[in-house]
Amino acid sequence: MPALRLSSFTLSSALGTGLAPTLEALRAQRSGLAHKHWETVDLDTCIGEVGGLDDLPVRADLAQFDCRNNRLAQLALETDGFAEAVRSAIAKYGATRVGVFLGTSTSGILSTEIAYRHRDPVSGHLPANHDYRHTHNSYSVADFVRHYFDLRGPAFVVSTACSSSAKVFGSAQRMIAAGLIDAAIVGGVDSLCLTTLYGFNSLQLVSPTACKPFDAHRDGISIGEAAAFILVEAGELARPGEIVMSGIGESSDAHHMSSPHPEGLGARLAMQAALDMAGLTPTDIDYINLHGTSTPSNDAAEDKGVSGLFGTATPCSSTKGHTGHTLGAAGGAEAIICALALQHDLAPGGVGTTEVDPRLASHYLLTNLTIPMRHTLSNSFGFGGSNCSIVLSKVMA
């Protein structure tokens, strides 16, 4: 499959709004996680919150879409010149030739969570102003973005838990290859909500402190939120120094709904398929952005998959200590972190981790590494055994 050019991209997370604060946080090995109170949540946990969303309603003409998830989406769309890049693509190709494929796990379900607290005591009805379609439904964020730019092309949401916004790159690649579209907005948006905070807590997968991926004493995830958007076009348009998605691999664990395959078999299949599409061998990869959620079993399984395929020399880290686990936005967010790594020849060291688990074999970075970077691989694995790996490459002169 032909490569995809990453023509424009932007990321907003607990690290800040846009690429500049994200890069600064990577350079400084700064975490955006904080032990704080959010909404009415009474759990003892750290979160990666994007500040200020309560004061940033969506554009007035799209008010029906107003919810935390779409506010976060809008914040990112208006950063790093992303909206301008989309409008240029529309001018170049036409509104029917630009697709929208976005990942999310919980969409704007927070709106319905709150509405359920305000049901009519007699009828049980939700408050009259509750808009299920434009906030809670999984498609909401893609619908919002399609309307935001008045697009007329194909659109959908991929919702495969924590691999969602990695898999959308594959959808865009296939649609462009088939000639249905010329460009697509991909990425993902997931925002804090009670379902995931209490849900991961029920599985005893949430750490009381900031998460520490691959650490000997890791004890669970920290939940974050993020919006990651990437405008992709045909890879042949990419100029030297620009970033392309050269390979993507998808697989299923076929093992368990909420635990990874203990040997990382599904993960390994996805990584191998991504390398195969890129025409690369494991030694070509300069840095691996791990899924690295910081749960004991997830990191152990991923380590087996990574070290089994790459050996123990390839530098790798998880940036979930920086951003928290942004769930359905993680694949897109971490692809963007890999793009920054390639642009700045910076393999980011993990944050939060102090003592790498001696039982794990991968070469986990505790400090930043400045090395010439040509190819990176990013892993995203989700509940239901959904795996996706992405290879990004820098176009050389």
């Binding site: 009474d42 439904n137 999984s138 893609a142 194909p154 659109a155 919702s159 849900g199 029920s202």
Partner: protein
């Protein structure tokens, strides 16, 4: 505009008065009246008994249609890439979690939580079929069928391998039911191949269009088409049931439909 040319090798169908493709052909073709009896959901026999008892409507629905389509095409599901597409996922499970989160005790069940992901049916399907091939799970509100068809067809063409589309919708209980009234569980699976095989039923040439979607002339089917996202496929199913080559336009998004040229 470019079109996706794929071959349809298997159909799985489960909906009101529609217990499988073979049993539903006559009423879809218009040679027998349509009777809207409640959707009958077979047990998910492929799952271990303990899980079989616990799984909800979407998993029973997707297993029924998925196995029917794969068997008809003579394809082993263990090697089959899949595209799941649904507007709401497991709506009963979602409602139960929302009620708990609105109560004084917010401790939700871990099983309910991992079943709440939109790709839960995909996870159970891959476990039941021991399939490690790629699988995705989509949502596009009322455009959910069209989204799945585009994704499955483009995946079959990109990979050179067959791809199974499993599109299914279920309803929330109240209070969300009134905001998203889906009258019956409805599922449709299509097994698509990138090249003609000995079992191919039809060739589908799928393109984007700005034409208005076709309607069903039968009022009962038309009401299903309008009220259930997956049932937007009914005009296509009717043409297939009648073995009638020609063009059908099905509903997709605002300002965008799918024009499908059906040939033998």
């Amino acid at each position: 505009m470019s079109a996706l040319r794929v071959y349809l090798d298997g159909i799985g169908l489960c909906g009101p008065g529609m217990a499988g493709w073979a049993a539903s052909r006559d009423s879809l073709a218009g040679t027998r009246p349509v009777e809207l009896s409640p959707t009958v959901l077979p047990a998910a026999e492929a799952l271990p008994p303990a899980e079989r008892r616990r799984v909800g409507v979407p998993i029973k629905l997707s297993m029924a249609i998925g196995f029917e389509a794969a068997q008809q095409a003579g394809v082993d599901p263990a090697n089959l890439a899949a595209v799941f597409s649904s507007t709401g996922g497991d709506c009963d499970n979602c409602h139960a979690i929302l009620e708990t989160l609105a109560s004084d005790d917010r401790q939700i069940s871990p099983t309910r939580f991992h079943n709440s992901v939109h790709n839960a049916p995909s996870g159970y399907w891959s476990i039941a079929t021991h399939c490690m091939a790629p699988s995705t799970s989509l949502c596009a509100l009322d455009a959910t069928f069209g989204a799945g068809l585009l994704e499955a067809a483009s995946q079959a063409l990109a990979s050179g391998q067959p791809c199974l589309l499993l599109a299914y919708d279920t309803a929330y209980p109240d209070p969300l039911y009134s905001l998203r009234p889906i009258p019956y569980p409805f599922g449709l699976a299509l097994l698509l191949r990138p090249a003609r095989s000995t079992t191919s039923l039809a060739c589908l040439n799928i393109g984007l269009s700005e034409k208005a979607p076709d309607r069903c002339t039968d009022a009962t089917l038309e009401s299903l088409r309008q009220s259930i996202p997956v049932a937007r496929a009914l005009p296509l199913l009717q043409r297939l049931a009648r073995n009638a080559p020609g063009r059908v336009v099905i509903d997709y998004l605002e300002h965008l439909s799918l024009a499908i040229e059906v040939t033998a």
